[in-house]
């Protein structure tokens, strides 16, 4: 045997179990995030070096222009990018654990479509803009989530299978509604709605940052605590229940937390494809973790989003694309790789 897979920290009656490989993965991801963030702050029409960033942080900005570009334009954009990625990654980890399905992510099971419906109704129906769109998307996602949960409920419990199927059904209906809204809406409004639908972090300001980050900070703690009982439920409710996990209560609150995270992310950026799907899977596979690693998925989500954003900004030939499309392309390739990889390893399934 090589080194033990777990590190156990003990102090008096307290003990913490850390998976060695996952710990290293998280440290690496965090490092990448720091490097990526610095790069993101430097990139743009106004070249800003690391030294100037440091000067702004320490309060000795070299010029008003540099300070303005950094704190009012690039930093909010960066924080929205990272925050949305983190929220989607965490949300995806919870959804995949609850649904026991690597495809069970908020975008696949209809919540993202619900957020879009909310936003579209507001943009097209009421000509709304700005912060109100965020609220409308939030409301749409939450209503969809609660609706899917209630529809999937049977005898006071929600089976993973029913949740995924109900979500797919509701998502299909909402996608149709979204298309209908776009067709029926006024052309100019429809174009602005379409821009929102593409998913973007362009022009995000502190008004987008605050709700997202406050939600993240408030929810991550309780959700980390909830991840342990939720991981127990991967063995089936019949085993987790008698082991002392209040199965339905854990599922309900974790679902709600994941839903709020997904709604916050989607309302801040528009629909972002595949981050919620891919981040938990990548974290789990690379970390060889037996359960969905919440911190790993969160960090991976942030890295994926940031990577996609950097890609859109440094792409050659003016190939600038909305970030939602980039993650869609990356995610699609990832999914094919995942399925093909599985097939190669395990034979056809």
């Amino acid at each position: 045997m090589t080194t033990a897979p777990n590190i156990i920290l003990r102090w008096r009656g307290w003990s913490l179990l850390l998976a060695r490989r996952a710990l290293w993965l998280n440290i690496i991801l965090f490092g990448l995030l720091v490097i990526g963030s610095t790069t993101a702050l430097m990139l743009g029409r106004l070249p800003i070096g690391p030294q100037e960033i440091w000067q702004v942080i320490t309060g000795n900005a070299p010029s008003r222009a540099v300070e303005h570009v950094l704190t009012d334009i690039r930093l909010p954009r960066l924080l929205v990018t990272i925050g949305a990625g983190a929220a989607l990654g965490a949300s995806g980890a919870v959804f995949q654990t609850i649904s026991r399905n690597p495809l069970g992510s908020p975008d696949v099971i209809g919540f993202t479509a619900g957020a879009a419906t909310g936003a579209l109704i507001w943009i097209i129906g009421f000509g709304g803009t700005g912060a109100n769109v965020v609220l409308a998307a939030m409301a749409g996602a939450l209503l969809t989530g609660v609706g899917v949960y209630l529809l999937a409920r049977k005898d006071g419990r929600v089976s993973a299978y029913r949740l995924v199927l109900t979500g797919i059904g509701v998502g299909a209906v909402l996608h149709a509604v979204n298309a209908l809204l776009l067709v029926k809406g006024d052309l100019d409004v429809a174009i602005s709605a379409n821009l929102w639908l593409a998913g973007s972090v362009d022009g995000r300001d502190w008004g987008h940052v605050w709700p997202l980050w406050l939600g993240l900070i408030a929810l991550m703690g309780p959700m980390l605590l909830g991840m342990r009982p939720l991981g127990m439920m991967e063995m089936g409710d019949d085993l987790a229940g008698p082991l002392g996990v209040p199965v339905e209560r854990v599922r309900r609150w974790m679902l709600l937390g994941a839903l709020i995270l997904a709604a916050l992310a989607t309302s801040a950026t528009g629909p972002i494809a595949f981050v919620a799907l891919a981040a938990p899977q990548l974290a789990r596979r690379l970390g060889r973790a037996p359960t969905q690693p919440l911190i790993g998925a969160t960090l991976f989500g942030a890295c994926l989003m940031l990577g996609a954003d950097l890609l859109t900004r440094i792409a050659p030939f003016d190939l600038t694309m909305p970030i939602g499309q980039v993650t869609g392309i990356i995610g699609g390739v990832y999914l094919i790789w995942l399925l093909a990889g599985n097939r190669l390893r395990n034979g056809p399934t």
């Binding site: 897979p5 003990s15 913490l16 179990l17 005898d155 063995m235 019949d238 229940g241 037996p290």
Partner: protein, 299 residues
């Protein structure tokens, strides 16, 4: 080979205690059983009172009252679909009652905190899924969950108990193997190790011998009996094999159509009449030459 025993009235000991003259099975009352068996020394910690259990509004078991024999190895038998598993699920509050209640030391288990209940009663369900990629030792360690907390994730005591449980279930050699790569029988023993690691005074097992070959079935039942005898654990298992049930159980609970129709020691209970009425099986009962417990021979 000539049958040594042809008469259904053959018993090594004069035993047929249950009076079965009543026309209906419901009349086979527990009050009739075994006046000559050893007296119950301890009052049951776990009791069902007027317990009704239902799925999707459909009642599976109605109005069950029973006490789990303290410190005994009880086995629930009965035909398929008679509510054996449902009763086990009810006894550990996995399936909350639609009427009545289950009491642990006089307290309604529905009101007990789940972790507290899980420190007292363990259940090995029929279906359990190992998370992909988990090792045996990590899976067995999950049995310690009710004794742990958010910031008490793995104490030295937890580790000691986990390794003892793996030893007892015979999976210590497999500790660092991937559970997915194990055979069905090995996997079943890993699940057994998990519920052993839970260290509950009361242990419920739903068909624990499924997936095991005959040698491992007997090994597992011997292990359960050993836990019962040496550690004083109260055990309730659902078993399908009547001969195994008779051989290992101190106490048999017979169920038909959601009701308990008879309870008692195997010797007191097992009669051709019971076989006929409960399982619709025409057979005779002989003395098991090894364990001297009732042995069913179908005709």
């Amino acid at each position: 080979m000539p049958l040594i025993v042809r008469s259904p009235n053959y018993y090594p000991n004069p035993l047929p205690v249950i009076r079965q003259s009543e026309a209906t099975l419901n009349a086979i009352s527990r009050s009739h059983n075994a006046p000559n068996q050893q007296p119950i020394t301890k009052t049951p910690r776990l009791q069902a009172q007027g317990l009704s259990l239902s799925y999707a509004g459909k009642t599976v078991s109605a109005d069950i009252s029973m006490g789990v024999e303290e410190g005994k190895f009880s086995v629930i038998i009965g035909p398929n679909g008679c509510g054996k598993s449902t009763l086990l699920r009810g006894l550990c509050n996995l399936l909350p009652p639609s009427a009545g209640q289950v009491l642990l030391d006089g307290h309604d288990i529905e009101r007990l905190p789940p972790r507290k209940l899980a420190q007292e009663i363990g259940l090995l369900p029929q279906s359990a899924q190992a998370p992909p990629g988990i090792t045996v030792v990590d899976l067995v360690a999950r049995g310690r969950y009710p004794h742990q907390g958010p910031f008490r994730q793995q104490s030295a005591e937890d580790e000691r108990i986990v390794s003892m449980a793996m030893d007892a279930a015979g999976v210590a050699d497999l500790a660092h193997h991937d559970v997915e790569a194990l055979s069905g029988g090995q996997r079943q023993r890993v699940w057994i190790a998990l519920v052993l690691a839970q260290e509950t005074p009361i242990l419920l097992l739903d068909e624990p011998t499924t997936y095991l070959d005959i040698a491992h079935q007997l090994e597992l039942l011997s292990l359960l009996r050993q836990l019962n005898r040496e550690r004083g654990r109260t055990i309730v298992a659902v078993l399908h094999d009547l001969n195994q049930a008779c051989r290992y159980a101190d106490h048999l609970v017979v169920m038909i159509a959601g009701k308990i129709v008879a309870e008692g020691t195997p010797k007191a209970l097992m009669t051709p009449d019971l076989l006929q009425q409960v399982f619709g099986l025409d057979g005779i009962i002989i003395d098991d030459p090894i364990s001297h417990t009732p042995m069913i021979v179908p005709r």
